[in-house]
């Protein structure tokens, strides 16, 4: 380890004090490089997940089966674009530009939540994503509202508020289907079956296989372990699925009276790793769609920049004339 400069030493001391007080680090504060890198990685990954996550739901906008549902779905996907914007902005306060992050995404170098590599094949998936995927996201994200990095925590407050709407809307979709025709009910159950395990795996690998978690917790970014959050989430699903009158595809869910925690059956972590490694059903499609939207839009972004530059030049020449007059 290199010796710290006096400035760095003072910065580190201040940083440590903030963390110890469980207070907030702000963009202008000194922070360890590893903390900065870790945050940029986590926030941009989260932002990318919002952007890629638009695709599986946007897939049903034109086919939503009622105008009310279409309106809710459009608003939801649009909210995700908004979340992406907040989060990229938060990451930018750490010195990485949105363009850099976007380039990493379309080059296939950046990660996003693996759950979005599964396809949405029926309308019921709009329900299951809302209820289960957004539900898992909320369990993950509510503690992040208290993340030690200020801009991230504040972005998460806005995100979480909207996510809880989304979850309720997803639940309503499933409830409607579960109380509908036999075909609709079957569609709802099938969606719950397909999204159950992937949504549990959204919390990341089991604690004993999650090397980065400990440091994140020490920095007050992460507040609870993967397994702890997963257990809470399973408990929530187990309760709510009764209201739906559907079942979860897991016989081993139970509340352990000793540990006071919910437990679930084994998960196929091999599949998780396969999908993470790019071998899921939709990895290629998701990246290609983002890449082509980005490439197809390049001329628009260039045009907007060129126009803005011309307007600025015109403005400054007008100002110069006024000053000269």
């Amino acid at each position: 380890m290199e010796a710290l400069t006096p400035e760095d030493a003072a910065g580190q001391e201040n940083f440590d004090r903030i963390i110890a007080k469980d207070s907030r680090v702000e963009p202008k504060d000194w922070m360890p490089e590893a903390y900065r890198r870790s945050l940029v990685r986590q926030i941009s990954q989260h932002a990318h997940s919002e952007i890629i996550g638009m695709q599986p739901e946007a897939n049903w906008i034109t086919r939503a089966p009622s105008l009310k549902r279409k309106s809710i779905l459009m608003a939801k996907v649009q909210d995700e674009a908004g979340h992406g914007l907040y989060l990229y902005s938060a990451a930018e306060t750490l010195g990485t530009t949105r363009d850099e992050m976007m380039d990493a995404l379309v080059a296939g170098k950046a990660r996003y939540s693996s759950i979005f590599n599964y396809p949405t094949v029926t309308w019921a998936d709009m329900g299951a994503i809302g209820w289960m995927v957004d539900g898992a996201a909320i369990c993950n994200q509510v503690p992040l509202c208290r993340a030690s990095y200020g801009p991230y925590g504040r972005a998460m407050v806005r995100v979480c508020k909207e996510e809880s709407f989304h979850q309720r809307q997803g639940f309503e979709i499933l409830l409607e289907l579960a109380n509908g025709t036999p075909a609709q009910r079957a569609m709802a159950q099938d969606a719950v079956n397909r999204w159950y395990a992937p949504s549990l795996m959204m919390f990341g690998p089991p604690d004993d296989d999650s090397p980065n978690s400990k440091q994140s917790m020490a920095w007050n970014i992460k507040r609870f372990s993967n397994d702890e959050l997963r257990s809470r989430f399973v408990g929530m699903l187990a309760e709510q699925v009764k209201v739906l009158g559907l079942t979860l595809p897991d016989d081993e869910i139970r509340f352990n009276e000793d540990t006071k925690k919910w437990e679930h059956g084994p998960l196929d972590w091999e599949e998780f790793k396969e999908v993470l490694a790019g071998r899921g059903p939709c990895n290629a499609q998701r990246l290609e769609r983002r890449r082509s939207a980005h490439a197809d839009g390049a001329w628009v972004r260039e045009a907007a920049a060129a126009y803005a530059a011309k307007q600025a030049a015109k403005q400054s020449s007008t100002n110069a004339q006024k000053a000269a007059a």
Binding site: I51, A64, S66, M74
Partner: protein, 245 residues
């Protein structure tokens, strides 16, 4: 009664089909800000569509969804402009530019309708379309004055969409029948020419050479695009008849 419903149906179908087209952009826009902006405009149009269709349907005992999901193509009353494919971003902006410059004065005048329901829907809608007008105007200027490529594309987009301007301002017997409950389309043409003309002049764009296409949407004679739009929009309703969602 029936005539006003028929009139509301036209306005509702225009907005519905435009919302359907714009909805396709969400997650595909040139930048995130435009995913949000086009999403907003789509949501506004969908909202207007729902108001107009609900009102139209009330005359016939039909819900907005019965009208949206269970009519056959010839029963739709949208104008061809709204059915045109998104094309590239410039084509979409050209379509938005025409649509907003048509809907803004239309809704402003309709807010004075003798039919209180139409007046109320229009009064709310005009405020939102004011933003659509601004959004499309800014983009027409940006694309025309941006790069060579963007200018070329903006011109091409206008060439694709301008033929469908004519149909928007055609009067027909229904317009006479609804009288002061509606707005006479031809009465809006001068303002449309003036408002679009000012922006096009600033952007140094010329649309005078584009021939007008034959319309027919108000009579249920549509472009070849509508069938595909409806096939997609109505697929679940048709596949699972009798289901609620």
């Amino acid at each position: 009664g029936g005539d006003v419903a028929d009139y509301a149906l036209r306005l509702g179908d225009d907005a519905l089909i435009l919302a359907q087209r714009l909805g396709h952009w969400i997650s595909r826009a040139p930048e995130l800000e435009e995913d949000v902006a086009l999403g907003n405009i789509a949501l506004d149009q969908l909202g207007h569509a729902r108001s107009f269709l609900t009102y139209a349907g009330s005359a016939w005992g039909k819900s907005e969804d019965e009208l949206a999901y269970f009519r056959h193509e010839p029963e739709f009353r949208s104008a061809h402009l709204f059915e045109q494919p998104n094309g590239d971003f410039a084509a979409t902006i050209a379509r938005q530019f025409i649509a907003a410059n048509y809907q803004f004065p239309l809704y402003r005048e309709l807010s004075k309708s003798t039919d209180p329901m139409l007046a109320a829907i229009a009064a709310k809608a005009v405020k939102e379309v004011d933003y659509h007008l601004d959004h499309s105007t800014q983009w027409v200027l940006r694309l025309a004055g941006g790069t060579e490529e963007s200018r070329r594309r903006m011109e091409a987009g206008l060439a694709l969409m301008w033929p469908f301007v004519g149909e928007l301002f055609e009067d027909d017997p229904l317009i006479a029948k609804v009288g002061d409950a509606g707005v006479v389309p031809s009465s809006l043409k001068e303002e449309f020419d003036r408002s679009t003309g000012a922006v096009l002049a600033e952007a140094e764009l010329d649309v005078s050479g584009h021939p007008m296409a034959t319309g027919g949407g108000r009579l249920g004679r549509h472009s070849e695009y509508l069938g595909f739009i409806l096939a997609e929009m109505q697929v679940l309703a048709r596949e699972f008849p009798g289901a609620g969602w």
